[in-house]
Subunit: 308 residues, 2 copies
């Protein structure tokens, strides 16, 4: 099975309104509730691809119970650890006419030292049987900044390939613990390396400890620096739509290729096709399976020169 970790899960609410106007009153025309947090999004895509998938992380309170009820309706196995504090909500307010989205994110619950110890123990148990693990998203209050580095070391000790998808100081610390793969976007990469030049920044990120770095460059696709070479992978043409969840779908594609022992170009193809099929989906954060199948043979992967 594939294990994903989401320390800062969320009950994701999507509200449709004709158009958001500050300081006005809005009737919400549609409400969608989803179990959220990056690792949960990755897990849903993996399950839809046919992989046995398990999620851990934290959930608590009435909102945590709602999240777990929603998760129970999916094929993803719930191994979340209970917190005393309630799971946060996020609200995405989508303007119906344009699709523009305004995001409101509640802070997460303060996680206690005992709850963190419980998560570490659960994670260690779950590593036994995991073929790959993904550590995803931000840290909730109360969790020390080196938490992901700790989990990377536990995964490496258990010889389970580990992907890290986070930002800021947790990424900086985590990458130094030598994960198998990191997947920064352009902003995260710039924050980590100080460079906005994709080749330089991606190679720099790799020198900081990751065995491979796959940078997501938005509509331009992915740039991968791996022990087997440097590749660029891009959709056949620019796709227009809602980019919510496109990065999480790319992570799912990379993990799927990893556990299937596919060569790098094939892993990148899956990641780009899933990512584009998510942008094209009418439902934010979901991928369109027929668009995915249609895109797969059309993703362009090119080897890039290794020059510094």
């Amino acid at each position: 099975m594939i294990l994903t970790v989401t320390l800062n899960t969320a009950l994701d609410l999507t509200y449709r309104v004709p158009a958001l106007t500050p300081h006005a009153t809005h009737r919400v025309t549609q409400v969608i509730e989803r179990p959220g947090g990056k690792g949960l999004n990755v897990a849903r895509v993996l399950a839809a691809l046919g992989h046995e998938t398990v999620v851990t992380g934290f959930a608590g309170g009435a909102t945590g119970a709602m999240l777990r009820d929603l998760l129970a309706a999916t094929p993803v196995r719930d191994e979340l650890v209970e917190t005393a504090g309630p799971t946060r909500r996020t609200v995405a307010v989508v303007d119906t006419a344009t699709g523009d989205t305004t995001q409101l994110n509640e802070p997460g619950p303060a996680v206690t030292a005992d709850e963190w110890a419980g998560l570490r123990a659960r994670f260690t148990e779950l590593l036994d049987g995991a073929r790959a693990v993904a550590l995803c998203g931000s840290l909730p209050p109360g969790i020390h900044v080196g938490a992901y580095a700790e989990l990377v070391r536990l995964a490496r000790a258990a010889a389970v390939p580990v992907l890290l998808d986070t930002s800021g100081e947790p990424l900086r610390r985590g990458i130094a613990a030598r994960p198998d793969l990191v997947k920064p976007n352009a902003d995260e990469l710039a924050q980590l390396t100080g460079s906005r030049e994709p080749h330089r920044a991606t190679r720099d990120a790799r020198r900081r400890g990751a065995h491979a770095v796959v940078s997501s460059l938005g509509p331009e696709g992915l740039l991968a620096a791996t022990p087997e070479g440097l590749w660029r992978a891009a959709p056949p043409s620019a796709v227009k739509g809602n980019p919510t969840g496109a990065g999480d779908s790319a992570v799912a594609g990379l993990l799927s290729g990893l556990v299937d022992e596919a060569p790098w170009p094939e892993r990148l193809t899956r990641a780009v096709a899933l990512s584009a099929a998510t942008v094209l989906s009418p439902v934010a954060g979901e991928y369109d399976p027929s668009a995915y199948e249609e895109l797969l043979p059309r993703v362009k992967v090119t080897a890039e020169p290794e020059a510094a």
Copy 2:
């Protein structure tokens, strides 16, 4: 006891953000959860004034359970009727710097005919022992537009004084069933009567069937057309703050005065003082008890000429 009815209850969330910017991502700095809907707000104020208070209406789903948990922590007695559909949320996004508020209201659950029959039965039981009843707020989907008129007639048949605080067609139908009191605001009054001239509109509303009409005119206070005469009641000076819940506090003041058999000027004084103390409160929708005590002797009530 005093009974309040809220057919479209809500789990009210208040989010503080530095400033709401459309199509940007916001970190919410503070989250407040409250049991909401007009009748629940009225009941909380009545309970704080020392009145025995009971609420009925509908609640359902996980959000309904959260609302009832929050209500259980107050002195208000919960006689809500369960619905299969989940209780709606409302989100008030408050800009920290200015206090300006952007409101997002989910639609309510579709109430079934059986659930409505259950509410009517519960309401009839509760009328036995009620000294006054208030019917408050909008109708959820599935409830017929004459629902409040039906409840007004049940209350009158039980000889329990009934206050109606709603808008649009439910107000038009409800007022024709001859409630003891309606409390429209300026917009509701204009919608009902076609007039924005307060005296004319208030008297017109009374001719439509209500025994008394108390119109809330925002910072200018209240205008009351009653069988005992016409009064205007205003705070000693304009109050600045958040008007959320000011109308509900005015309803609580009117009910409080009614069950205490206070003369009209005293009822209006309580309503204006509570309303102003709600605007002045640092917490949206709550009233400031010391401001209330301080305002009570300073509210100006003046008899107005009855001329047409």
